[in-house]
């Protein structure tokens, strides 16, 4: 079972790369643009910190770490998650999802690995550059242990991001057109650029529990700084697993209710 899915993943990635080569200039441009956007996105952060040392307990260098994780997740979202999402919605619209559902492999897996935009993954390099810049400002490099801890925390964030995306697809099964929902999510996701403690009141609750942006970008940044308690790490993972479980449940129900497009 696992061997089959690994083979499918390989074949699917191969297709994505072949497609990317078909329109390579378009995709290269896309990747370069996304790096330019990342550079541009640092400007507001820089301006905000120009005349004060810290905001909500975060210095410029520390806030840059949040930005670094955001850039990495944004690359993942636009390079690996969104392309599959767009593909699936297209398949629901024209009924070719029938073919996916009749493949002897897990449908959620097939749908999740449907398409990757490899050039978008260039922003992973951009996030690395932000980290280097941030730690030079902070004047201290993180220990390998802190890096591992941060990556482990990020894992929970990625799981949540992925689960939100599965939930979005589940909605698409019922209402077919979900462009606005997608834009809404992307807009909300933008808030993950800033440390979560910047947000007060209702927003802070939403970003911690409803759409846990805090877990995606702020917690990993804190883990790099050695400021994330084990309790919050464990709670984050438990929350992420619950989110994933819920997403899987909703997904299974949506598939069962899927009525396919008429021929």
């Amino acid at each position: 079972m696992i061997a089959r899915h690994l083979a499918v993943l390989g074949a699917s990635l191969r297709l994505s790369f072949l497609l990317a080569m078909q329109y390579r200039w378009d995709f290269v441009l896309d990747g370069v643009m996304s790096i330019a956007w990342t550079a541009g996105a640092i400007v507001p952060l820089y301006l905000v910190f120009e005349d004060r040392a810290a905001i909500a307990g975060w210095t410029y260098g520390e806030a840059l770490l949040v930005m670094g994780w955001f850039t990495l997740l944004d690359g993942l979202l636009k390079g690996a998650i969104n392309p599959s999402l767009v593909t699936v919605i297209e398949q629901i619209r024209n009924g070719t999802l029938d073919f996916v559902l009749l493949k002897p492999a897990d449908a959620q897996f097939l749908v999740s690995t449907a398409r990757v935009h490899p050039w978008r993954l260039l922003s992973l390099g951009a996030s690395l550059a932000i980290f280097v810049y941030a730690f030079r400002l902070l004047g201290a490099w993180p220990s390998p242990g802190a890096v591992l801890y941060a990556l482990a925390t990020l894992g929970a964030g990625v799981l949540v991001l992925y689960s939100v995306w599965i939930l979005v697809i589940s909605v698409a099964f019922r209402v077919v057109r979900i462009d606005n929902l997608r834009y809404l999510f992307e807009t909300v996701f933008e808030a993950g650029r800033w440390p979560s403690t910047v947000y007060k009141g209702a927003l802070s609750i939403v970003f911690t529990f409803v759409i846990p942006l805090a877990l995606m970008t702020t917690y990993p940044a804190e883990a790099l700084l050695g400021a994330l308690e084990v309790e919050r790490f464990v709670a984050g993972w438990l929350g992420a697993l619950a989110f994933a479980g819920l997403a899987r449940l909703v997904w299974s129900r949506s598939i069962a209710a899927y009525t396919s497009a008429s021929s």
Binding site: M1, A3, R4, A7, V8, G10, A11, S12, R14, L15, L18, L19, Q22, Y23, N94, G95, T96, D98, F99, L101, L102, K103, P104, A105, A107, L110, A256, Y258, T259, S260, S262, S263
Partner: protein
């Protein structure tokens, strides 16, 4: 929220199909053919009733079941539009875990039978509809399925490609003993491929049996076509059977089966006959008559129901 109306797409459809059998679903548009096909494949969950195919409950979509079936739809394609079909074949090889040796042999064999040559290496978007359908068939047969579900596989194809595709499907059935379940608007598809037909009309099974039995049942009359020369006695002509077509020298008559030999000998005696053929009514016509009868029967029922409703309305309520 949109208002939803519960419609019974399929109701009371029961049948069994033996391994290796070739069965065609017939019915007017929206009759429930594709719904039934999709339930068999496992795409749709029946809200009531039981479906079993090859020992499996299709809607569970277990890998052991999906490994044995394939679905080809004339109006939908699984090939990646911007890549050559060969790349989709590769993806299916991984999904179905076909060994490299089997894969190469099968793709080679299927491509040769379908006369595809190097077309599988051209981007799908550059192929004609017929070429695409042939490649769809290859993509769906790489894992050598035992049950083939074909939903209007020849729709939109030119006649010679239709014939080619039919021959190919038949040949696959003969060589691998695969079961074939087909829906089609083209009677020729059904006539060429399916000894057995199941007629579904308004979600109900109205006939299940041999195609020629269906034709005999709906239209027991034969078509007698005569090419005549010289003077024609109209009275004799009309006494032979129902006149369907009449031109200067060509006459088409509809004659009941048991009166046929008498009619033929009388025609030969009375006229100067250049040519004479006897045929069953064209299938398309048989079908439209069958569906028209179904409609008439339903309208009759609906009228009766309306009358009953009207009677109910007269009863005082609350």
């Amino acid at each position: 929220m949109r208002e939803r109306e519960l419609v019974r797409a399929v109701d009371g459809v029961s049948f069994a199909i033996a391994p290796g059998e070739r069965v065609g679903f017939l019915g007017p548009n929206g009759a429930g053919k594709t719904t039934t096909l999709k339930m068999l494949a496992g795409l749709l969950y029946p809200s009531a009733g039981r479906v079993r195919v090859a020992g499996h409950v299709p809607q569970r979509r277990e890998a052991a079941y999906l490994d044995q079936i394939m679905l080809v739809m004339g109006q939908k394609q699984q090939l990646v539009w911007d890549l050559p079909p060969a790349d989709t074949f590769e993806l299916n090889r991984a999904v179905y875990r076909v060994s490299r040796a089997d894969f190469t042999a099968r793709v080679g064999e299927l491509s040769e039978l379908l006369e595809l040559g190097d077309l599988v290496k051209k981007p799908t978007r550059e192929l004609s509809l017929g070429e695409r359908m042939k490649c769809e068939l290859v993509a769906a047969l790489i894992h050598r399925p035992k049950v083939l579900f074909l939903d209007e596989p020849t729709i939109g194809l030119d006649v010679s490609t239709q014939v080619k595709v039919r021959e190919f499907i038949r040949d696959y059935n003969a060589r691998h003993g695969a079961t074939l379940v087909l829906t089609s608007h083209y009677m020729d598809d059904v006539a060429a491929l399916c000894p057995r037909v199941i007629v579904i009309d308004q979600g109900r099974l109205t006939f299940d049996g041999a195609l020629d039995a269906l034709v005999r049942e709906v239209r027991p009359e034969k078509r007698l076509t005569l090419r005549l020369r010289g003077a024609i006695d109209e009275e004799v002509l009309r006494s032979l059977g129902a006149l369907i077509e009449r031109t200067e020298e060509r006459v088409v008559l509809q004659v009941p089966q048991d009166a046929l030999s008498a009619a033929v000998s009388r025609a030969l005696a009375a006229f100067d006959v250049l040519d004479l053929t006897v045929e069953a009514a064209p299938l398309e016509e048989v079908m439209s008559e069958l569906f028209a009868r179904g409609r008439a029967a339903r309208e009759g029922r609906a009228d009766a129901a309306d009358a009953a409703d009207a009677a109910d309305a007269k009863e005082p309520s609350e």
